[in-house]
Amino acid sequence: MPNDIIQEFTKADYKEGFVTDVEQEFIPKGLNEDIVRMISARKEEPEWLLEFRLDALRKWEKMPQPDWAHLDMPEINYQDIIYFAAPKKDKDRPKEIDPKLAETFDKLGIPLKERDVLAGVVAVDAVFDSVSVTTTFRKTLAEKGIIFCSFSEAVKEHPDLVRKYLASVVPASDNYFAALNSAVFSDGSFCYIPKGVRCPMELSSYFRINARGTGQFERTLIVADEDSYVSYMEGCTAPMRDEQQLHAAVVEIIVEKGADVKYSTVQNWYPGDADGKGGILNLVTKRGICKGEGSHLSWTQVETGSAITWKYPSTILKGDFSSSEFYSVAVTNNHQQADTGTKMIHLGRGTKSRIVSKGISAGVSQNSYRGLVRMASGAQNARNYSQCDSLLIGSKCGAHTFPDIRSANPSATVEHEATTSKISEDQLFYCNQRGLDPEEAVGLIVNGYAREVLSRLPMEFAVEAQKLLQVSLEGSVG
């Protein structure tokens, strides 16, 4: 009986699975130098950026696709993907947002008109397939000297900044998917917080895949100058389709002396249907560098979507006394597979990091934590604490933990602990006894289990994430 309830609990609807019927422009399928030149030309990019792309493409062509992750990866035909798709602009009114797009984002709960939003809450950069549709609150932010715009605009308006920081944390040759992204990236967000400025509102990017047969390759670059602060959120959804779609993004964060960056993700790509058909392949490289003394970077992620997740938000702790945190909840259900975790590279003196990862697997899914904590010989008195818990719901899923700890400094302290367990009969019985039905009980237990991470999310996201957790697990209790 309890298994049926779990089954019910995990069979939820994906309410973001609709398709927007909008006229779109595509470039031909496939990947070669001409395609890269075509993307670059379409975006009217300067020569140096084209060179960067071509260089990345040449490197990518020589690299093998990595297979070390604990994933059953389908063969990806990179020549069968459309690398650029954009909604057509109305020639008469090129400045206006297509009402259909506005409606799409509205349906997703992302307001594109500033007056619709409660005063000064969240500024949004909305990306639809390969282009940014709009960025809100740009003027308000500009008054404080903050630059927040789409990546394409940044290339045109702030080429020096982009050139200085692009690929400084994730070089084009970093890994297979980062190289692919560097060659074909289309749009994304750029954000620069000047010295001593505290960003007055949450910044956010929302990524939407709409067109069939395409991939999304966005690039986000966040630069927090000395003593600044910013909280950044990222969300994403895609339509329900039988085919699998590729999403290979790169996020780079530069944190200067005394600055503080908080990066939160609620990842809700289409996970595929209950039989494992379709879904997004989410192969993402995210990395930040705590460059200056006393800088701080915090990653928070709630991963509920995607057929396959391959993602390791990492921090290089270079500045002395810099610190970083990684808080993650990853939920897999049905045939989903996730291999996610973090890397903390301690280079500076007195650096600190903390990792809290909560994995929840249900159905026939596989959920892995993979992490690296490295204490370099200069990491005097550095400290790390990691905790990775896995919760199994149902007898056919898997939960795995692959931490890697390397220490070359005797004064550094690294601690790692991990547990794997299931929701116990006792816990369920306790809740049932007090009048909660089994589904509510599981929801309660799971939310309690993930609370430490959820409480780190900005308020706007926390409520959303809590609901998402419940929906993602619908039909899986036992």
């Binding site: 199994l392 931490p403 890697d404 220490s407 005797p410 302290t413 690294v414 790692h416 602990e417 991990a418």
Partner: protein, 196 residues
């Protein structure tokens, strides 16, 4: 490593097979001056099989010590505990690569794995990779790993009571290693610790 799927390792060379209701105890001691590769795999193949593994290492020069431990729970109701503690000094290099695999039908499994390391010099290196691969749901599994140094507060406590630094450090190391010292070898190991 499998690719997202459970792979039964039958056909692999398995060093120790533990059948239903049997219990296996393994103890390893690596003393200073010894470079060793300890490669063990244990297959808990019958219901209720048990494993207890304890290992200790002490390095003070340029030793290289590698542990590769695979514990495979293939039947229900098995229990395994692993404890590997050691001290790396000099320019030694120690790696610990331990994997626990719990097969899909191995319900009611209890598996625990711990690896604690103390770095006793600036040039020693420790790398630890404790891994869990779990394909059954009714399990209690945990692992823990630490890399650090001797506790300063404890050291201060002893020194403020007149115990010389060297002796205080030795006492701390003895207490750190006591859970993994095999019966009857206490004196030999205490002497080795004092020689570090």
């Amino acid at each position: 490593m499998g690719h997202g799927r459970y792979i039964d390792p039958i056909g692999d060379t398995l060093t120790h097979v533990v059948g239903a209701g049997e219990r296996l105890e393994l103890e390893y001691v690596v003393l200073p001056g010894e470079s060793r590769d300890i490669d063990v795999s244990v297959d808990l193949s019958g219901p209720g099989a048990e494993l207890s593994l304890k290992a200790l290492y002490l390095c003070k020069a340029d030793e290289k010590v590698n542990f590769r431990i695979l514990v495979h729970h293939r039947a229900p109701g098995c229990r395994s505990t692993q404890l590997v503690n050691g001290i790396a000094g000099g320019t030694s290099n120690v790696t610990f690569h331990g994997t626990i695999v719990v097969a899909p039908d191995a319900q009611k499994t209890e598996a625990f794995q711990e690896n604690h390391n103390i770095l006793f010099s600036d040039s020693a290196k420790v790398e630890t990779r404790p891994q869990l691969e779990i394909y059954a749901d009714d399990v209690k599994c945990s692992h823990g790993a630490t890399v650090g140094r001797l506790n300063e507060d404890e050291l201060f406590y002893m020194r403020s009571r007149g115990i010389p630094r060297k002796e205080a450090e030795s006492l701390q190391m003895i207490s750190f290693l006591t859970p993994v010292i095999p019966e009857g070898r206490r004196e030999e190991i205490e002497n080795a610790i004092r020689s570090l």
